[in-house]
């Protein structure tokens, strides 16, 4: 075909088949096929493989057991205190990061919502931690938490009655310390949502409240919070998903230790595969994690559709 001919009818493919693909129902297929093929290879295939592994026994310690299919991994999962301990730690981790991020982000958003001078600068300050890679967050907080030379312990030296400790090695402080690092890294996401949400609250509401002589707290309690409720719901789910997925911060800082005190479900899945070398059981744990995240995604969709149709939602 010459160049001029192609100009005349752009985007045609030769023959009846070509016409079907560029015009008819084949068009949707043509557009979807590349992405579906790729996703099928990099996500679909691994998911199938994970299912197969979870019914098999591919473990370094029991090489002879390979090929005996059954539900044994799932039976083991049901009565495995390590697995349910990891689920509990994941839940605590999610709870901690959600509560911490929302408290920090909401305070920052309320403080900066009506800033006129240094507006961009004040917002940038609360967005910047988001740009820091999780790996870097882990390294920085690891250095700050250091028991001997960390800046946190050195600052605490100046405060009477509080003594520093080895934050990441102490069983009681390891998980909260990781949560704080994660909050620092991800609260800006909530901050963005809160700023947008606060921006969408009509000023008339506050003016009316002022006429009724409502104080700052009453305004917050009876105007700001109710107006933000959809945004808060969206953020809670989003932060839960992010907290549940979180891997590098925990893995790099403690690797799940001390003695499993910070082993969340994702870290346990990883350690089971690459430390214990029990790939089948790791795949089973991975499937449990997928099921949990599916519940979270359904919650997310539910909240999003309600925020779309609901009144006062700004998302």
């Amino acid at each position: 075909m010459t160049r001029a001919q192609r100009r005349k009818r752009p985007g045609t493919l030769p023959g009846r088949f070509g016409r079907l693909m560029t015009e008819g129902p084949g068009f949707a297929l043509l557009m979807l096929a590349p992405a579906l093929l790729v996703l099928g290879f990099v996500i679909g295939l691994p998911m199938v493989k994970a299912l197969m592994l979870s019914f098999d026994t591919i473990a370094l310690r029991r090489p002879a057991a390979a090929g005996t299919y059954g539900l044994h991994n799932y039976v083991r999962l049901l009565s495995d205190p390590d697995a349910w301990g990891a689920v509990l730690r994941s839940a605590l981790y999610m709870l901690g990061t959600v509560a911490g991020s929302i408290a920090l982000a909401l305070s920052a958003a309320l403080l900066t919502r009506r800033v006129v001078r240094f507006r961009a600068l004040s917002r940038l300050a609360f967005l910047l931690p988001w740009t820091v890679p999780a790996v870097v967050t882990a390294l920085v907080w690891g250095v700050m938490y250091d028991g001997n030379f960390g800046v946190i312990n050195r600052l605490l030296d100046h405060i009477p009655f509080i003594t520093g400790r080895d934050w990441l090695i102490d069983r009681q402080t390891a998980l909260p310390a990781l949560i704080l690092a994660q909050v620092w890294n991800e609260f800006p996401v909530a901050y963005i949502f809160f700023l947008a949400g606060l921006h969408s609250i009509p000023d008339e509401l506050y003016e009316a409240a002022k006429i009724d002589r409502a104080g700052a707290f009453a305004q917050f309690r009876f105007i700001t919070l109710p107006q933000l409720r959809y945004i808060i719901a969206v953020i809670v789910i989003l932060l839960m998903i992010m907290g549940f997925k979180s891997f590098p911060i925990v893995y790099i800082l403690t690797g799940g230790g001390p003695a499993g005190a910070t082993e969340t479900l994702t870290v346990l899945t990883y350690n089971t595969a690459f430390r214990t070398l029990d790939f089948s059981y790791s795949a089973t744990l991975g499937i449990l994690a997928v099921l949990v995240s599916l519940v979270l995604v359904l919650g997310y969709l539910r909240v999003m559709t309600r925020a779309d149709t609901g009144k006062g939602g700004a998302v």
Binding site: A28, A35, K49, A125, P129, A134, V136, D146, V151, G286
Partner: protein, 281 residues
């Protein structure tokens, strides 16, 4: 009732209180970044004897050590290659899918959307373990191609989801006009919708690039040889190796974080609106 003067005093006090709050919270939030820079600029081995919060002596020797004695440049280069390739592939395969999800009515559209969303939101550890086994069988383990494919599984769902958002924001009338002028649907997509979506696609490319750049899990799992490590794996290894040499750790961390921070500063507005449209990480 309170006098106007009293009220003005109240509001001035409130302003001062707020400003103080912003400054205090801002300092607390920015402190880790500041401290990373301080330690990175302190002579090797001297950060433990810092007595104040400002560096006593500033030096670049840690960065010199980083680039001369460790393959930092190599790792950064690997990161760039992998991020560019996986982001480009995701865009090449994902854009048309995003378009279909935005414009076409077909059976199963809702299902595809939910699947894309779900894959974006499930823990990558669930994928990486079976992927490791598969890649071992395919001989893709410890290769750049394998790592690029692994990152595509992270970036492609994001690209599809964001592309759908961008096409949603372009009025369909323009393609309708092109169709009346004799364009097929394919050419209406190729010649009308795609050029209009270009700024959006550029944003997706950068977002995908940053996602891949940040990734630790795939890079750590699918690659073994040090020469193929990405910068994320490289700098994370410093925590084990230089456990007490905080200066080198922080110099590496700063080097790795800086490009992304600069990209963010340049494109702040677009990234923030992208995050609001539901495509967070």
């Amino acid at each position: 009732m309170t006098s106007p003067r009293r009220r003005r005093l109240d509001s001035v006090a409130g302003q001062v209180f707020k400003a103080a709050g912003i400054v205090a919270l801002g300092i607390a939030v920015l402190f880790p970044i500041y401290w990373m820079a301080v330690i990175a600029l302190t002579p090797t081995g001297f950060s433990r004897s810092l007595t104040s919060l400002v560096p006593a002596e500033v030096t670049l020797e840690n960065f010199v050590t980083l680039f001369t004695e460790r393959p930092m440049l190599r790792w950064l280069w690997n990161s760039i290659i992998v991020a560019a390739a996986s982001s480009f592939l995701s865009l090449a395969f994902g854009t048309s899918c995003g378009y279909a999800l935005s414009r076409l009515r077909f059976r199963g559209a809702g299902l595809v959307l939910i699947l894309v969303l779900a894959t974006q939101m499930m823990p990558a550890t669930s994928i990486v373990v079976p992927l490791y086994i598969l890649f071992r069988d395919f001989g893709l383990l410890d290769t750049m191609q394998g790592m690029v494919l692994g990152h595509v599984s992270l970036v492609a769902p994001l690209a599809i989801w964001m592309a759908k958002g961008f096409f949603d924001s372009i009025p369909a009338d323009l393609e309708g006009a092109a169709r009346i002028d004799g364009c097929t649907r394919l050419s209406a997509y190729w010649h009308v919708a795609l050029p209009l979506a270009m700024p959006g696609l550029a944003a997706i490319f950068i977002y995908g690039f940053v996602t891949s750049w940040h990734d630790f899990l795939f890079a750590k799992t699918l690659i073994n040889s040090q020469a193929l490590w990405t910068a994320a794996t490289g700098i994370s290894s410093f925590r084990g190796e230089y456990f007490t040499l905080h200066e080198l750790q922080m110099a590496a961390a700063l080097t790795f974080a800086l490009p992304v921070v600069i990209v963010f500063l340049v494109m702040q507005r677009r990234i923030v609106s992208g995050a609001l449209s539901g495509s967070v990480r």
